[in-house]
């Protein structure tokens, strides 16, 4: 024992065995960890047998140690005096014949981790339930309105059924054939409309996964308006949408952003209704910032606005200015959290009249960097291959993003060459995949511009068969690495990138 006395003051438990596996040394921390005494340890003749008797999986670790002369165990769990203990063992076989075993007591760490993980899961569930309850509230408010929406096509359908009945009473049905076809079309059209209304509601109610997709801001605003439109029936409230420039494409969870907009618009409607404002109006503005990094969507009304004392509380959970039973006080706080989860900001801005809320969301370039497999990006850093896909069709960007989501590549998207150049200024890109036909600048011109700017990133064409000849003629001149023919499968996309990179 004396020769190892220098280990006495170590906080880590240590056990040393002689060549014959008898105990040569242990420190006080070892006694504490294994709740034993020097007297009991002196009775032990073989450390392997002793520890195998306590720790069920010690045998495997010791076998590895004997084979490799140095080994670290995974977390080993065992029960001592009815307490569950977790340890990690490092073992070293020395030339002198001694076996050194160092123990890390991970019991508290493991218990805390398990406990906080369970609490975190509980919090996430509660959060999801709150969001769902807000959705139900919004749906509840709108159900009455939407039933009115459904009533219109339903009335048309019933009316046309009656007309068919009348027509069928005619003895010469050939004369009525054209009419019956028209009535039938009307019924079909009405039923389609009802189906669409219900589908939208179902999607809004049940789609809860946190998946982000490329969406047109104008589409999101239109859908939010269609939800709130029935609330305006019988009210003189006018709604104006100002889209400054081309409608921006966002990388967001469409349903959640719609939920935020519905909340803001519905709040504005309620406020205007309650205040009986003269010439009530709501204005929705949408525009990108000058630098192209952010998109702002604002909802402004000309109602009574928000009092100075309420301005600081407006985003607090359960704070509401609505009458009892009308508001839960969850809408804005949930909206705030939704926007924050998109790395954006929801603000109440100062306005001369009424209330002015502004949503700021990252433009697709920045959002693309924040999307995807962050863990991989952090751990593998520069080893990750960044693939920039340029296509004006959001469906194609979404498809590529989904296909590459569990691959070794990090997806970045751009809806135009202009956005792509912005992206290239922002970060290094290892591969560009571009569509051929795009409205502002076509694929060929885009690549020419790239090469003119001395950007020699490998490029793949992604286009229809019609452009194969074009690809062949440009291949050498522009240094194209290949072509992906639409429609393509996941394997084709991943395979094409892999082949181009390895080349």
């Amino acid at each position: 024992m004396e020769s190892f006395e220098f280990l006495d003051d170590l906080f880590e438990p240590v056990l040393i065995a002689d060549q014959d596996e008898s105990i040569a040394y242990f420190n006080s921390s070892f006694l504490t960890l294994f709740k034993t005494t020097p007297r009991n340890l002196k009775k032990q003749t073989n450390i392997k047998e002793y520890l195998c008797g306590i720790i069920p999986e010690f045998n495997q670790f010791y076998a590895e140690l004997e084979k490799s002369l140095q080994a670290v165990s995974p977390e080993l769990t065992f029960i001592l005096e009815s307490y569950s203990c977790t340890i990690i063992v490092k073992g070293i076989k020395k030339n002198s014949g001694h076996t050194l075993l160092f123990f890390k007591d991970a019991t508290v760490e493991k218990q805390l981790n398990d406990k906080y993980r369970a609490q975190l899961d509980e919090l996430k569930n509660t959060h999801a339930q709150i969001i769902q309850s807000d959705k139900l509230k919004v749906i509840g408010v709108m159900t009455a309105n939407i039933s009115h929406e459904i009533n219109n096509p339903l009335t048309v359908a019933i009316g046309n059924c009656e007309l068919i009945e009348f027509a069928l009473e005619n003895t010469d049905l050939n004369k009525e054939k054209e009419n019956i076809q028209k009535f039938h079309e009307n019924i079909n059209h009405s039923l389609d409309r009802i189906n669409k209304i219900i589908s939208n509601m179902k999607e809004y109610l049940h789609k809860s996964e946190d998946k982000k997709e490329y969406c047109d801001a104008e589409v999101i605003i239109d859908r939010a308006l269609s939800f709130t439109q029935p609330s305006l029936l019988g009210n003189p409230i006018s709604i104006k949408v100002n889209m400054v420039g081309v409608s921006p494409i966002l990388l967001v969870n469409q349903v959640k952003i719609e939920q935020v907009l519905v909340n803001l618009i519905q709040n504005a409607i309620d406020s205007l209704k309650d205040a009986h404002t003269n010439a009530p109006s709501i204005t929705i503005n949408c525009q990108g910032d000058a630098g192209g990094n952010f998109v702002h969507i604002s909802v402004k009304d000309n109602g009574p606005g928000i009092t100075p004392e309420n301005r600081t509380k407006i985003f607090d959970t359960f704070f509401t200015t609505k009458d009892m039973g009308k508001g839960t006080g969850l809408g804005l706080s949930i909206s705030n959290r939704i926007i924050e989860s998109h790395q954006g900001k929801l603000e109440l801005l100062d306005s001369y009249v009424g209330a002015l809320f502004r949503i700021t969301l990252p433009a697709i370039g920045i959002a693309g960097h924040m999307n995807g497999n962050w863990e991989k990006l952090i751990t593998e850093g520069d080893k990750i291959t960044r693939v920039l896909v340029v296509d004006n069709e959001t469906n194609i960007l979404n498809l590529c993003m989904n296909f590459l989501s569990d691959s070794d590549y990090h997806f970045l998207g751009a809806t135009s060459p202009k956005e792509a150049f912005k992206e290239l200024e922002r970060a290094s890109v290892d591969m560009i995949i571009t569509d051929m036909k795009m409205p502002t600048l076509d694929g060929e011109s885009f690549i020419r511009e790239l090469r003119a700017r001395k950007i020699m990133v490998p490029v793949l064409f992604m286009t229809s068969k019609d452009f194969v000849d074009k690809y062949k003629s440009l291949k050498n001149e522009l240094g194209l690495k290949g072509i992906i023919i639409k429609p393509f499968t996941k394997d084709e996309l991943v395979g094409a990138i892999g082949a181009a990179i390895s080349e």
Binding site: F11, N27, S28, S29, T32, T37, P38, V108
Partner: protein
């Protein structure tokens, strides 16, 4: 306060006698004995069944709240002494461990004993000689003396 730990307080004059019962861990709070504004505290750990490193950290933080008061620990069980030996700060300057339990063994009765020792009974990290209350034979100290008593050098 965690339901795993209960705290009984008895105040006489300027002295608070605080008995801790149960588990001291990450959930433990000592709010009940904060802001007592006493000049002297006696903490009785006899009924503490478990303490982990998070509990020790919480305790050290609590000690900062009653800085300046005279503090004594009594009846510290072996689990407390073992943790104190590993995490420094439990015994800061001005804190005295008056009594604590130490493990002994009676070879004659083949029985483990926890003997309550007065701090001043220990010299040079040597356990005092104690007799078995059953057979009256000398007991053996049942830990590594130098390491078990190392807490005594803290707080000086």
């Amino acid at each position: 306060m965690s339901d795993k730990l209960s705290i009984n307080t008895r105040i006489t004059g300027e002295e608070a006698h605080v008995e801790l019962i149960g588990v001291i861990d990450e959930d433990s709070t000592f709010d009940k004995v904060k802001n007592l504004k006493m000049n002297k505290f006696i903490f009785d750990f006899n009924k503490v069944s478990m303490i982990n490193s998070c509990g020790i950290r919480g305790w050290i933080k609590y000690l900062q709240e009653i800085e300046g008061a005279e503090i004594k620990y009594i009846n510290c069980p072996q689990i407390i002494i073992e943790q104190v030996n590993m995490v420094h700060g439990f015994i800061r300057k001005g804190i005295g461990v008056e009594t604590f339990f130490a493990p002994y063994f009676c070879p004659n009765c083949d029985t483990e004993k926890k003997i309550l020792l007065q701090n001043n009974e220990v010299f040079n990290f040597k356990a005092p000689i104690k007799q078995c209350n059953t057979c009256k034979m000398d007991l053996e100290f049942d830990a590594i003396e130098k390491q078990y008593f190392s807490f005594r050098s803290q707080g000086n």
